[in-house]
Symmetry: C2
Subunit: 370 residues, 2 copies
């Protein structure tokens, strides 16, 4: 097991990554909070609960109250949060209650937001069950839900008391989800961790074969990268922006395909391809570095093919939350292991990046047909 400290102006907590955490969850939480409160709530999905609920539950002397959030992005809504909050109120949740968000990214985002606003904020821990949630969404305190107008448009910054990333639960994760999640680790390496890039290159077989030691290494390194960035810039006023490498066009891609064709990590993968192109054009990476990183993305793919017009994609990128005062921000790789944010991307450059990316995504499509 590895322990990674997150240390921001408003919170300090540990992320634990390793095997067997779930089997010992209650005592582990107790070690963090002192004594378990009278009421413990678990927000989870029916699928995860069916697979792993017993394992979690048997660690508690008194069974926690289980609240279900149906799977799927379409349930990441204010209405779901209200429904869960009402169930908590009916079950007697008070300010001293503890919530455990036990599931993938959506459960973490919704559960965290629920904890953020229930009685103006109660304590919670994250127990992420997907690779993506473990390396990305469970760390950093971002919580929230979608509006019809866009993803994550309402939410809170609300840090958990601890994060327990159990590598064992990844055993039941579908292969496609693991691959998509690994794109965030690829991103982590590109923006901040040259050694992680090398490890991912050299141990692709072990990682994709779910070797526990290799996974723990990748997950811990990815979390360490994110924890470091979040500790330096909790509110995303500067540095934290680099975590959005691949997200400008990645989000647009998800939106333009109505969140149906691609998993988030896959969209970010394609978005990184676009960012590499723009980085090359701006000279922040060399042709060799671009080639090397594209090969890495391919190695952890294949990313699903997409057919779309570049113009439509660029239009879809307009409502991205990261644009303050209408400025279009774009994260570019700087060499390997560093990144920077530019604000002066022209519409032509954006179109060029989209065309390059969609060209590659189209190739993927035609390869699949042939």
């Amino acid at each position: 097991m590895q322990t990674i400290r997150v240390d921001t102006p408003s919170a300090r907590y540990d992320v634990f990554a390793g095997s067997g955490l779930l089997e010992t969850l209650a005592p582990r939480i107790e070690r963090v909070v002192g004594r378990l409160p009278r009421r413990v709530f678990v927000v989870t999905s029916p699928e995860i609960w069916a697979l792993w609920g017993h394992c979690l539950q048997q660690t508690f002397a008194e069974a926690p109250v289980v609240l279900f959030l149906p799977a799927g992005e379409k349930h990441k809504t204010m209405a779901s949060v209200e429904k869960l909050a009402r169930q908590m109120a009916l079950a007697g949740a008070d300010r001293g209650s503890l919530l455990i968000a036990f599931g993938g990214g959506i459960v973490g985002d919704v559960g965290g937001f629920l904890a953020a606003i229930y009685m103006r904020g109660i304590a919670y821990v994250q127990a992420p069950t997907t690779f993506l949630a473990q390396v990305d969404s469970s760390v950093g305190g971002k919580t929230g839900v979608n509006l019809a107008e866009g993803k994550n448009l309402v939410g809170s910054f609300h840090h958990p008391l601890a994060v327990f990333a159990d590598i064992g639960v990844l055993g039941t994760l579908p292969d496609r989800e693991l691959r998509a999640g690994l794109m965030e680790s690829v991103k982590a390496g590109i923006v901040r961790d040259r050694a992680l890039v090398r490890f991912l290159e050299e141990h692709a077989n072990e990682v994709q074969g779910r070797d526990a030691k290799a996974l723990e290494k990748v997950i811990a390194a990815s979390i360490r990268m994110k924890a470091g960035v979040v500790s330096l810039d909790e509110r995303e006023s500067g540095l934290r922006m680099i975590l959005n490498l691949g997200h400008t066009l990645g989000h647009a891609l998800e939106a333009a395909t109505r969140y149906k064709a691609l998993l988030h990590g896959e969209a970010v993968g394609w978005g990184m391809v676009a960012a590499l192109w723009l980085g090359r054009k701006r000279g922040t990476i060399t042709a060799r570095q671009m080639e090397r990183l594209e090969r890495l993305i391919d190695r952890y793919g294949p990313l699903p093919p997409v057919k779309l017009s570049a113009k439509r994609l660029v239009a879809a990128s307009g409502s991205d939350k990261k644009h303050v005062g209408g400025v279009k921000r774009f994260v570019l790789p700087v060499g390997i292991g560093d990144a920077g944010v530019v604000e002066d991307v022209t519409p032509e450059e954006l179109l060029g990046a989209a065309e390059y990316m969609l060209g590659r995504a189209g190739e993927a499509a035609s390869q699949r047909v042939s």
Copy 2:
């Protein structure tokens, strides 16, 4: 005009109380935020906007986007917040946008919560238009909405950048609302400000006659009391509890009459009568002090009569948010100008306090009949 500083670990801002603030709102906000952002949003009620919208709007070079929240507690919901958030997204609100909550307590609570969660938090100012909102709800950063299971069960702590309490707008406030709001000033005096109690006793005619100087004095003193308490205990872990004098049974009274018979301040007025009885019983106030404070409450009444059984009332008090881990907290006056929190109130005492209060409230009813 008086300026009162709120200074908490997470925020520092000024509350301005005086006449003519609305007529100069935009430049005043500018003085606080530096430069007005590209998009300014106003959340308000149709009634307030009809009366005072022009006055506010003409201070802005570029007209702000106006979002309406219909009047009434029944609109203080997650659904309203979501609707307003969607309107903001459609109008292009981003993280740099500014929101003005312009109305009574409900507009302030909903508008503040909207600002707290829109894109995980944007800047806002409070421009409260009722006495109650000016002296109480606009100061301290508490925001939120109701669930079917109880009031203010979801929300955030989110401080405004500034509060502008314009005494001029109270000119159109219905008399009953002014009286109800004054109960919070009576409370402020009882728990923390002996001089305010005296001022309220000696200048009741001027205050109730809406003399601007008298009102400014009462409002500023009430805000100063609250700002002081909030600065010492932002998250209501201790001292801030004393602001809940009269609220345990006051909330129960509102709930038992389904928020229809009484305004919040009126319910708090009755709740304070119950708290005085319990304070007398516990010996935290003398018989003379009890009599004096009851006279003061009566002077700023009359509180509307209520007919209810004490048992039903006590049952309704069970779901109060302030009870952590099932402990029943109760705020008691300590002499005049001080208060304390007790946690060992017995069911019998609670029933006794409810019976005393309802007896007085019943007397009021029979007096009205005869």
